[in-house]
Subunit: 269 residues, 2 copies
């Protein structure tokens, strides 16, 4: 890593499953993207930094096959819990190793080992090792994972939820969501070619758009990212700046980490 920049406060970088895995393929990491993004993270040299990645073709197909999200019904599912978690560990190793290759002291931390959910929402997070790792200069790398759940026995915890929760808890200054689209549009660009990319949005703007969506049940202008944006609202209310950037386009994550406006920015006011 080239430099450290503690003045800005904590940055959380979430890389979607559609970024770090090959779309439509099973258990296939997108190695060119992972290596390039590791280089961008290293070049930007931002610290403190927490990285979170999604599951894509690693976690989701297995979680679905064994009905992990809906919780424990029968002992046969336990092996599915094991397999889903192991698939995510294997994806995490690709990401962590690429970062280490680029000199980033990445530290894989499975949420399943220190987080417990209740009905799919985080109920407790034992973050002492995570806090200590951060203050030492390590870069924790978390991911969407299975979790033990107080109501369901077990379930699935999304990378988006854990990223947003850590942003609130650690009062992150920025939460950068690396996805496979350029940001939020005024309309669905696949339907209306005159749709414009939104560069900046406040929570109030978002609520108006929201109202529109709810009222009319029209096209989801978030391009299927409504769940993601709902998770982002609490950290934004706590003062974090959220950025939705296309992490498949080289240089975007580097620029976002450097504080440039890429994609769509969402702020409190």
């Amino acid at each position: 890593m080239k430099r450290r920049d503690n003045a800005e406060g904590l940055t959380i970088l979430k890389l979607g499953g559609s970024v770090v895995t090959e779309k439509g393929a099973l258990l296939t990491p997108n190695m060119p993207a992972i290596r390039r993004l590791a280089r961008e993270v290293s070049d930007a040299g931002v610290s403190p930094l927490i990285l979170v990645h999604g599951g894509g073709g690693f976690g989701h197909p297995l979680a679905e096959r064994y009905g992990i999200k809906d919780g424990f019904r029968e002992p046969q599912q336990l092996i599915g819990f094991s397999k889903t978690h192991e698939a995510m560990v294997s994806l995490n190793r690709f990401v962590v190793e690429a970062l280490v290759e680029e000199g980033v002291p990445a530290f894989g931390m499975p949420p399943s080992s220190f987080t417990v959910t209740r009905g799919g929402r985080v109920a407790s997070i034992h973050d002492e090792p995570l806090r200590m790792a951060l203050s030492l200069g390590l870069v924790p790398v978390l991911y969407g994972d299975v979790t033990l759940d107080l109501e369901r026995g077990f379930t699935v915890l999304s990378g988006d939820q854990i990223a947003a929760l850590l942003a609130v808890r650690f009062e992150a200054k920025r939460i950068i969501m690396g996805v496979d689209v350029d940001g939020l549009y005024t309309e669905d660009p696949k339907i209306n070619p005159s749709a414009r990319l939104i560069r900046h949005l406040t929570l109030k703007d978002l609520e108006e758009v929201w109202g529109g969506i709810r009222g009319s049940s029209s096209t989801d202008v978030t391009g299927g990212m409504m769940g993601k944006i709902l998770e982002l609202i609490p950290p934004i209310k706590h003062g974090a700046k959220a950025l939705i950037v296309n992490a498949l386009k080289p240089g975007n994550v580097y620029s976002a980490l450097k504080g440039e406006l890429v994609g769509t920015e969402i702020t409190k006011e």
Copy 2:
């Protein structure tokens, strides 16, 4: 797994680094031993069960190279922390996958994510997910790992320490130490061929042997296992039965799990 046997209480099975890795080789799992032991664990079908394994040629050489045990001195060590942990994750994956192949719902849990040490001894262990995993029927698989340390920044946590600590905390009925020797001898069998394997030992017996060792500074009759045995004393005082068995000999771990006397047994009285 063939059957479950909850009546006996918790069993902790520790497999030494000299059992699950190739002696003298770097980053080389002992796959025949790992596969065979996974089968023995599956055949014995003991539940609840926590498995802990050591580092051998995975964790130790890297930890040594970067001076991880002695703690943080300079930022360059952070990448060594990363590499040491990743090496242990990769070994853990071999163990967990072999267990899953045999139908054991193994669940890899890195101590570094939920344990903090002070001067190399465990200071806090956030065990909510571990407890929930156990009660659901999963088999947590922990290992010797790096940890964040309240005095040193970071350090190394041995598999023996975490195994013994969990045995005390969870009031384990049995702690089985799978090693590469047959047990404890009356004398060092390499020096004195008339040395006899000790089948049963009480803490009082042990203290007498101990006194002898301390007084005379003579040969370590534990065959270099003094550290291991010191860790075992607290769980034994808490009522756990400790067994030191040669896990490289096929069938021994199965027999030990089934409650047969293999190797050396150490009990409170």
